[in-house]
């Protein structure tokens, strides 16, 4: 599925200073019954966001109007658990394009990159600075610069660089995906398949 290209994102951010946010929280299993990719944003963080009677939980950050933006900032080990890409779809569908944390679970990170969400890994110290900046001013903006591989807290000018492999970076900058790439190397794949004992 095509996604919006990612270049420089300047936005306020939604803070979620909780560790080990797992994919069952991001999208509970009972909302995985669709056969099409649409509407997952409605159930993003469903059980943290809504009471059993579907009324919003007032103390949850997504229900607090003072926080908004296209960047989600989470505690360490964000996205642990299930391989459900639905978690990344829900984040994208809700309107978020970037998740910042000091540590990501592998599969979630890969899924995010594959659908056009940029996971930005920062140091625990820088993550703390971001949380403090948002706490001081919920409208504080972050600049995520993919070409330069840097993230800046605009209010203070504090900046850190982040890693991403060149191939994935190029994909995100241009809206490319792996499926098209793999189609272009099918001859090589055929050769490996032919030599496999299985």
């Amino acid at each position: 599925m095509a996604y919006d290209k990612f270049n420089i994102l300047k936005s306020s951010a939604v803070p979620m200073p909780i560790e080990n946010v797992d994919t069952d929280q991001i999208i509970p299993a009972r909302f995985l019954k669709a056969t099409e990719r649409k509407g997952f944003g409605d159930n993003l963080f469903r059980d943290w966001r809504y009471n059993a009677d579907d009324t919003p939980k007032k103390d949850f950050v997504l229900n607090n109007p003072i926080y908004s933006g296209k960047i989600l900032v989470g505690g360490k080990n964000f996205g642990s658990g299930s391989s459900r890409e639905h978690a990344a779809w829900a984040i994208y569908d809700y309107g978020l394009r970037c998740v910042v944390s000091s540590f990501f679970a592998d599969i979630f990170k890969g899924n995010s990159l594959n659908i056009g969400i940029l996971p930005v890994t920062v140091s625990p110290e820088f993550l703390d600075k971001i949380f403090k900046a948002i706490e001081a001013d919920p409208n504080t903006e972050l600049e995520v610069n993919l070409p330069a591989q840097s993230i800046t807290i605009l209010a203070t000018g504090e900046k850190e660089s982040f890693d991403i492999n060149g191939y994935k970076k190029n994909n995100l900058l241009n809206g490319y995906d792996d499926i098209d790439f793999l189609q272009s190397v099918k001859d090589d794949i055929q050769k490996v398949a032919a030599s496999s004992i299985y």
Partner: protein, 465 residues
Amino acid sequence: MPSTLFDKVWDSHVVSHIADGPDVFFIDRHFIHEVTSPVAFLGLEQRGLKVMFPERTFATADHNTPTINQHLPVADPLSANQLKALETNAAKYGISHWGLGNPKNGIVHVVGPENGITLPGMTIVCGDSHTSTHGAFGCIAFGIGTSEVEMVLSSQCIMQPKPKKMRINVNGKLGKGILPKDVVLYIISKLTAAGATGYFVEFAGEVFENMSMEGRMTVCNMSIEMGARGGMIAPDETTFAYIKGKDKAPKGEAWDKALAYWKTLKTDADATFDLEYNFEAKDIEPMITYGTNPGMGTGITQHIPVTAETGNSKASYEKSLNYMGFHEDDALLGKKVDYVFIGSCTNGRIEDFRAFASIVKGRKKADNVTAWIVPGSHIVEQQIKDEGILDILTEAGFELRQPGCSACLAMNDDKIPAGKYAVSTSNRNFEGRQGPGARTMLASPLVAAAAAVTGVVTDPRELIA
């Protein structure tokens, strides 16, 4: 140059390496189920692509299936629709499909091995994080997202950077009543739920060498719960004996040829790992979790740790204990239990039900406990009947349900009610995992059985003759 088991399997499946990028990685076997495949098939259709090697993909319905009355139409229209989509897509693209009602049906990570689809040295993926289970056979097996399911369908490859390598050695002899589930929960409690992120793990040492295939599957299954991409164990005579004669296992000359290859699948003596841990079997007791990630586990005779001992932030730790209705320093023994679940891709194999039955035999289910006993497949269900385990269960007041993922992720009707405590042999104790508000304590089949007959968290060693 000496290499590890992981290197040998990985390197032989690399189609090409992209500079400053991932490897194009060839996949021998691809499992699909109803939940994470429909959007991938939709993608194929939109791009006008075909399935490159339909004979390398196997479909089974498990996540969303009911565990009672499977002969009736599935009542939930959304679940029924997903099951139908799997059936239609499999038929359209010529993929083997073991749907609801098929005698081969069951949980994907149970049916793969028991039918000989999973073989040593393979690369195996599935849109399910517990695909790591197949590592028990010396495979590189791991969970993938739906975009990657589409990649495998259309090109039999995914694009993956090679993970770092970790070895976890557990030596010595396990004590009475200590099961493979305890071993892996112990390891995760030591490494934390993120301790192996970025790594592929090899489990080695006497404890794994002496373990059955069922036990090895339980261990590898949960490697994802410490963040590892997967875990693997070198194949040996135990592995070969398990595979021999299985439906899709090689036969005759093909067997001899395969066996010769399988015997090369081990880590060379001088090979090195990026990280290595050593544990002793004697330090492991029956384990149970008290929090909301699988790293929050401890020995069953212990008290719940205080924040400072765990390396978690105070806020996250308190959130977790609040959800569970527990407090720091609470004793775990004697905690009330409302539900017991035995099953899942972690503990839904015949050995798990044998263990469960060994404790409930001659005892009665506790009145305050609702127990869901769910075999991992129809083959396991049949074994339970053939071995007389069903009679023991029935005598003790338990009922056997039909195969599926069931209360492990509670996508079907098998949901633990809000606020209730479940001792579960599954793999995740996340908030709401077994139903909104459900409180999960992960444990072995023996701990589950002890809870089922006493109604409280009980040390199973006290009930073993």
